[in-house]
């Protein structure tokens, strides 16, 4: 009867694995960010990121090739459209040059905002993405050795990308504003109404305002308010794309389309000054 001991052995293996998993999960959740399991994870993140980045660079041309194959039939139409756009852009370029000089003057006159003048950034490359489909995370090649700290904001010239939720020595994890756990204090640039923008794990955001009857319109620009202490004020987040009343008529659903195109992100800036703590302190004074 050799089957019985074998089945017992299998049962023991399974129980050991399950106990091991539950123990690791419990220890990981209970320990601080500087605990041994977090340190092991950060070490491996540092180790894996360059490899992952190298593979991404190797496979990007193949991916682009495959994508282009699918779009081949529509390319001729696209070419005609692009030629029209080029003509239009050339006209706009001349207009823009004229406007640029006047804009520079306006910037100086308005001093822009004091907060933005204080902003110092450090550039970073995106070297990895979230391994599962439930989180919207990215890994960048900057860590504590570059002066980067937890909760620092990540931006591009288009607007806010997210904030750092984990910092290793040479890599960090960015929680994108589209992640369902992301909550950013914002305000409407036109009406100055404040609220909180939440991610939904898709391409749009949801804006929850302090007042239910807040003055919000489709097309309004939403920027960071600085409240909450992690993001400096005045960083563009997105544009209100939809304001709809719920069927009950009591609440509204405000949808915001982010300015940043996350699928095309390659390089980002980490806001190192003002630091998140200093923002929190300044707000409390």
């Amino acid at each position: 009867m050799p089957a019985a001991p074998r089945s017992n052995r299998n049962r023991i293996i399974l129980v050991v694995i399950l106990v091991l998993c539950v123990t690791i999960v419990t220890l990981y959740v209970r320990e601080s960010d500087k605990g041994p399991l977090h340190k092991i994870q950060n070490f491996f993140l540092d180790l894996v990121s360059p490899v992952s980045n190298a593979f991404a660079k190797i496979f990007r041309p193949i991916k682009d090739g495959v994508v282009n194959l699918f779009h081949l039939p529509s390319l001729s139409k696209e070419r005609a459209d692009l030629q029209k756009q080029v003509a239009e852009l050339q006209r706009q370029r001349i207009e823009t040059k004229e406007m640029e000089s006047s804009l520079e003057e306006l910037k100086r006159l308005l001093h822009w905002t004091e907060g933005q003048a204080e902003i110092e950034t450090v550039g970073a490359d995106i070297v990895g993405q979230s391994p599962n489909n439930w989180q919207r995370l990215m890994i960048i090649n900057r860590g504590s050795s570059s002066g980067v700290k937890k909760y620092m904001s990540v931006v591009t010239d288009e607007g806010l990308v997210g904030r750092l939720i984990s910092v290793g020595s040479r890599t960090s994890v960015v929680e994108l504003i589209t992640d369902s756990r992301s909550e950013i204090g914002t305000r409407d640039q036109r009406s100055r109404e404040t609220g909180v923008v939440e991610g939904k794990n898709d391409s749009t955001l949801r804006l929850n305002t302090m007042k239910e009857d807040a003055d919000l319109q489709a097309g309004d620009v939403v920027e960071t308010s600085g409240l909450g202490g992690t993001c400096p004020p005045g960083i563009p987040v997105g544009k209100i794309s939809k304001v709809t009343k719920r069927s009950s008529g009591l609440t509204r659903y405000v949808e915001v389309k982010p300015y940043v195109q996350f699928s095309k992100l390659d390089k980002v800036l980490v806001v190192i000054t003002p630091e998140p703590e200093s923002i929190i302190l300044r707000e409390s004074q």
């Binding site: 539950v22 994870q41 491996f44 496979f59 979230s130 489909n133 439930w134 995370l137």
Partner: protein, 174 residues
Amino acid sequence: MSRNRQIFLMVIVVLAFVLQLSVLPQFKMLGVQPDLILVIAVVVAVQDGPVAGAVVGFCGGMLQDIASPQVMGVSALTKTLAAFGAGMMKDFFMTYSILLPVVLVFLATIFEMALHQGAMVVLGQEQLPPFRIVTVLAESLYNVLAVLVVYPFMRRFKFPQKEDSVVLTKPSKS
């Protein structure tokens, strides 16, 4: 399971882990990438039994947990249970064609994703829902495509043990 098969599975899990982190994010469809480690764990559960699948699910899931920014142990736990469950379920099906791993991978993906999401909610890492049915179905179908390649490939490397092979001898005259 033969020693050669064990070595082969170790190599396959590490290779799948490298592909999962590096190549597969470049080939997302509908914003979703296949879960190669889960697919391999289910295939092993079908070919070598539920415990072997659970061990592969644990090792692959743990590698994924260690080298990615998520709660350590959750993927290992969910993949262990999904592969073990798939291995147990295979006895309920009266077929050994490619249809068996296809169905099991499809079901295991849905189960694993639900379990993973549930665990994250319980641990306070995720809010309810955003369990999007489109994401679940897209990953399940993507995994089914992957198993059509993985299953025949892994069957080629069965490495049967000596005692498993049948020896035909002539019946004695007495």
